[in-house]
């Protein structure tokens, strides 16, 4: 029986973790930018995610009960009234917060912050208290209220790189961890220590018809995402909550002549 807790330096560790910029010192800090001026709300990303991550087809009844699972969804916000009415779209997915409220909530460490700046969700560790989802201000955590099944032969499409979740388990966007792992794998094959910029492309980013999304390592100042996120239009949703999200939105330009 191993117990790995070394109590002697717990306080040191705590001090270290709470230092600002702690996550910047890791190998990667995966970050996504979403340009709302490009985003058209077409929902290509939603289907891309569904295909990539084995999201269940819940059926009309479950949908009506608001039990659908969409790791990325498009939120719609109307402004004004007819005829001067506008509709704004904003894709909402797990923000992989550096100060994630959900991470403190989980009693069994099924969700935690990993060394790549990712907010993990370990399905097989989850016991289903759902606290993380209640704490999440972005409401991007989805619970498996049932064990969903696929009508034969739709299950042949399931991505073998992603676990199929059972009832009682929380799930959410992973920034396509299987693709990150694959890119790291390829980098190792090539004898590189680091993944090149642009090598990791989550399914949603890949599909986006307007190229509104970009993804990369914000610890690397030369990466595309580092440059995009420094745009003066950049902001974080609900920044006042101090969750320090890793998804940076670029404001839509309102160009009223």
């Amino acid at each position: 029986m191993r117990s790995e807790v070394d109590m002697s330096n717990v306080l040191d560790k705590l001090r270290e973790y709470s230092k600002p910029g702690y996550y910047d010192e890791f190998d990667y800090h995966w970050t996504m930018t979403i340009d709302l001026d490009r985003c058209t709300g077409c929902e290509a990303c939603v289907v891309a995610c569904q295909a990539e991550n084995n999201l269940p087809i819940v059926g009309e009844e479950r949908y009506a009960e608001a039990r659908e699972i969409k790791w990325i969804r498009i939120e719609r916000y109307w402004e004004g009234e007819f005829p001067d009415v506008k509709l704004n779209f904003i894709p909402m997915l797990c923000q992989h917060c550096d100060e994630a409220p959900c991470e403190t909530a989980c009693p069994v460490f099924a969700t935690y912050h990993n060394q790549d700046g990712l907010n993990t969700q370990i399905y097989n560790r989850c016991i289903g208290t759902r606290t993380c989802a209640v704490y999440c201000p972005y409401e991007v955590r989805y619970f498996n209220w049932f064990t969903y099944t696929w009508d034969e032969p739709l299950e042949q499409q399931l991505n073998p790189d992603v676990s199929v979740r059972e009832k009682g388990v929380m799930e959410k966007c992973t920034f396509c961890i299987q693709r990150i792992r694959m890119a790291k794998d390829n980098a190792k094959d090539d004898g590189r220590r680091r993944v090149r910029d642009g090598e990791v492309v989550p399914a949603c980013v890949q599909s986006c018809p307007t190229e509104a999304m970009s993804f990369g390592d914000s610890n690397d100042p030369d990466s595309k995402v580092s440059q995009v996120m420094n745009s003066p239009r950049g902001y974080k949703v609900l920044e006042e909550l101090n969750t320090v999200p890793s998804v940076i939105y670029l404001k839509k330009v309102h160009d009223d002549v």
Binding site: T120, Y123, N124, V164, I177, Q178, R181, D185, D189
Partner: protein, 181 residues
């Protein structure tokens, strides 16, 4: 009448002992099942002997398990692959197990090998990474070259994986997302 607790408990001693024996029995039962009736050494559809192939004939592992160094899955050789050699190796052609193989080939039927080394579906193990990192096949699979019927030596459980990752200081080796995703 006495108010001694031990005396009051006396009649309960035997039922308690029986209970203890039963509980011990449960552990014994689990152990028996695990040791003697487990899927550790299942009977395979063909009595294939790794000893004959890997040890006596010195065929390297990756000659048959060709995907081990380039895929998450090591790959079990196809019937065609088996037949590729066995049509050439004349002296082994009439052995009963080889005849079984030939039977599968004639019927163009795949061989339903029983899986010995299995991890749950939520574990995404990859052979490639381990082989390329220089982990010898035997470190996890045991001395396969000495086995007639393949048997599982390692427990293939998470503590076993994590211990090795810890000892070898695998990069991010203790991050859950290394194996679970």
């Amino acid at each position: 009448m006495s108010i001694s607790v031990s005396e009051a408990l006396r009649p309960a001693r035997k039922p308690a002992l029986i209970g203890v024996v039963a509980v011990v029995g449960i552990f014994v039962g689990v152990w028996i099942n695990d040791t003697y009736f487990s899927d550790r050494t299942p009977v395979q559809p063909i009595e294939f002997s790794h000893r004959v192939h890997a040890s006596d004939n010195e065929i390297p592992c990756q000659y048959c398990h060709i995907y081990a160094s380039r895929s998450p899955s090591a790959g079990v050789p196809s019937v065609a692959k088996c037949m590729g050699c066995h049509t050439a190796v004349a002296d082994a052609r009439e052995r009963p197990e080889v005849l079984k193989l030939a039977g599968y080939w004639d019927r163009q039927e795949p061989i339903p090998w029983v899986k010995v080394h299995d991890v749950p579906d939520f574990v995404h193990f990859t052979h490639k990474r381990h082989v390329l990192a220089g982990v010898q096949c035997q470190e996890c699979h045991g001395p396969v070259q000495d086995m007639d019927r393949i048997t599982r030596i390692a427990p293939m459980t998470m503590p076993w994986c994590v211990d090795c990752h810890t000892e070898r200081e695998v990069e991010n080796g203790r991050d859950c997302w290394t194996c679970h995703k």
